[in-house]
């Protein structure tokens, strides 16, 4: 008998797929309904936002930050809000 499952198809590159599998493993409630192939995975509808947020967090952790950002923030603080 054919089964129909409602959900969301996520398409991404292979590296991201691995991160998503990792997120799924760590999540208290696994959301992956069907692991399709290297670049596709079928997940629960409600989980998309969570996956997005987690993914962003993990990728952010692994991004090299240029120092200038930091110094610029400092400069901005000292220059402070635009003078009238």
């Amino acid at each position: 008998m054919v089964q129909a499952v409602r959900g969301v198809l996520l398409q991404m590159d292979a590296a991201i797929k691995q991160i998503i599998l990792e997120i799924n493993d760590q999540s208290p409630q696994p959301f992956i309904l069907e692991d399709l192939d290297d670049e596709h995975v079928f997940v629960q509808e409600e989980s998309v936002d969570l996956v997005r947020a987690k993914l962003d967090e993990i990728l952010e952790k692994n991004t090299y930050k240029v120092d200038e950002d930091v110094t610029m923030a400092k400069v901005q603080q000292t220059v402070a809000s635009p003078a009238a």
Binding site: M1, V2, V8, H40, F42, V75, Q76
Partner: protein, 562 residues
């Protein structure tokens, strides 16, 4: 292979060329690999660009289109009443294309409906298509009517055909508007007595600019004094700002890039939609807007002739800078340039060019010089913006990390974080790039492409980096009993372009959510047909059916919904 020739030598001698050859082979390999990777990257790049939000600045968003769409979609009862107002009809006439105007004028005073066949004689055969298109457009707006006949189509027009005439209300009102007859106060009552408090055109322009900029300002989130509740509500309603925390949305940013005229109208149409909720008469509201459009700039008009609804509107339009009233109690009001250009096709920017009065307006996005760019972007992501307008600076600060501000310029830098922040607000990379391009300093515009490629590419890359997954709502079908069933389903879904993913080996197919109903119906049909043909064919289902419509009592429902 070269190395084998050198093999008789010492082990050392052999191994060296071998290594070289291996390196050569490797290097021979890498270019192709690199090329493949590059090709891959290129395709994914194109894919990303193709799927980028379809937001081109002001593409097709003209004032004319906005209003005509609105009127065409009005219920008939409203339209009849709207056409009873001369100002409205005149405004619509002014919006019409030259051909449309020509047609309207020709049939305005015709005593009888003019047969379409006769109309066709007005133009050469080449122009016939144009004529029909213009007629269809006018018909859509219900400006022309065809008594007891479908819209004019070439097919229906042979022989004498149906006659074409202006719709009665429109004809009467336009006639009144042109001849000044009728007792309508549709064009407002100009105040005769001179105003004690002199109001100059320059003052009005300044007032309008200030007010409108304040609205836009509020949109970009810089606190700018007190704001009227009505404006806030309007901004929320239009979806230009997110309701929850009142920050600018992608749509709002798009709005900022548009021409002032389009902005004003977009706002007013939103106001129209809200007028229903505010228990205001839609016809009166629309009529008043068109009336404002036909007023004379610099003249004052009497408040006394206005209806209650219109007086209420006056209050609402004041904070937008569309009308000026010195005090709430004063008996006269002045339309500003924002109002008087409502129904003219001349854009504010060009219309005000010759007028030095608005020349000093804060520049850039202001009422006047949208043509003058002021932004310089360097390849090192530094941005120099020659402006002192708080509004422009606020817009820039949405995606530029501003560093310093001087008398006539600000310096900032486009950083990953600043762009990501903008992206998270829903502003797309394309929008940012479009803004920078359209506001580029004349010096920068000499370059081709205008923006340094490194910067625009990087902004796009940052966007792609944020969108690492592409989700699509879908249904997954699995556990097909037979390969044939599976393949037939795939073929069916593919014919409608619903298949997102499939794998024949484990018989899984993922179908776009749009096609779910169709595919499900197909599966049901196929299964019932199948069970009828081969009664024993259907496997004994393991789970009970949930959404059975009319399956044979003894059979399992072919599609089981989880």
């Amino acid at each position: 292979m070269g190395p084998t020739a050198a093999a008789p030598g010492t082990k050392k001698a052999w191994s060296r060329p071998a290594r070289k050859a291996a390196a050569a082979a490797a290097s021979a390999n890498t270019p192709s690999a690199a090329a493949a990777a590059a090709a891959n990257a290129a395709t994914s790049w194109n894919g990303a660009l193709g799927s980028a939000p379809d937001v081109k600045p002001s593409a097709g968003a003209t004032v004319k289109g906005l209003i005509e769409d609105y009127i065409a979609n009005l219920p008939l009862a409203y339209r009849d009443r709207i056409y009873q107002q001369p100002a409205t009809c005149l405004a619509l006439f002014r919006f019409a294309t030259p051909l449309g105007k020509q047609i309207i004028m020709r049939i305005l005073y015709a005593a009888h409906p003019i047969p379409l066949a006769d109309m066709k004689l007005w133009c050469t055969t080449d122009g016939e298509k144009e004529l029909i298109r213009a007629l269809e457009h006018l018909y859509r707006l219900h400006i022309i009517a065809i008594p007891d006949a479908p819209p004019p189509r070439p097919a229906a027009s042979d022989g004498s055909g149906p006659g074409v005439a202006l719709s009665p209300h429109f004809r009467q009102s336009l006639h009144n508007a042109l001849t000044g007859s009728g007792d309508h106060a549709s064009f407002g009552q100009e105040s005769t007595a001179p105003d004690k408090h002199l109001v100059t055109q320059a003052m009005l322009d300044q007032y309008a600019t200030e007010r409108w900029e304040a609205v836009l300002h509020y949109l970009v989130g810089s606190p700018s004094g007190k704001r009227k509740r009505a404006v806030t509500k309007l901004l929320e309603h239009s979806g230009l700002m997110a309701r929850a925390n009142l920050t600018i949305t992608s749509k709002g940013f798009q709005f900022l890039l548009q021409d002032v005229n389009v902005q004003v109208w977009a706002f007013l149409l939103q106001y129209l939609q809200m007028s229903d909720e505010l228990k205001m008469d839609l016809v009166e509201v629309l009529g008043f807007l068109f009336q404002l459009g036909s007023l004379r700039f610099g003249a004052s008009y009497s408040v006394d002739t206005l209806t209650e609804t219109q007086k209420h509107m006056l209050e609402d339009l004041k904070p937008l800078g569309i009308v000026y009233q010195r005090k709430k109690k004063s008996s006269r009001f002045y339309p500003t340039r924002l109002a008087t250009t409502l129904t003219s096709k001349t854009l504010l920017s060009s219309g005000a060019d010759g007028d030095s009065a608005t020349g000093h307006a804060a520049g850039g996005q202001s009422l006047t010089g949208e043509e003058t760019g002021f932004i310089i972007v360097e390849t090192n992501y530094r941005v120099y913006a020659y402006t002192s307008s708080a509004l422009e600076i606020a817009v820039l600060s949405l995606f530029v990390n501003l560093k310093a501000r001087f008398m006539n310029m600000v310096v900032g830098m486009i950083t990953r974080d600043s762009v990501r922040e903008a992206l998270s607000k829903g502003i797309s990379a394309t929008q940012i790039i479009d803004y920078l391009t359209s506001q580029a300093h004349p010096e920068l515009k000499k370059n081709n492409p205008v923006l340094p490629a490194t910067v625009s590419d990087q902004i796009r890359l940052w966007e792609m980096e944020k969108e690492r997954i592409t989700p699509s709502h879908a249904w997954l079908y699995r556990d097909f009993a037979r390969q044939d069933d599976y393949e037939a389903t795939v073929a069916y879904a593919e014919a409608y372009n619903f298949v997102l993913w499939k794998n024949p080996t484990n018989r899984i197919i993922v179908v776009d959510a749009r096609g779910q109903d169709q595919v499900r119906a197909y599966l049901k049909r196929a299964a019932t047909a199948h069970t009828r043909a081969v009664p024993a064919g259907a496997p004994a289902g393991s789970q009970p059916s949930q959404s059975a419509s009319q399956p044979p009592p003894s059979q399992e429902l072919p599609v089981h919904v989880v």
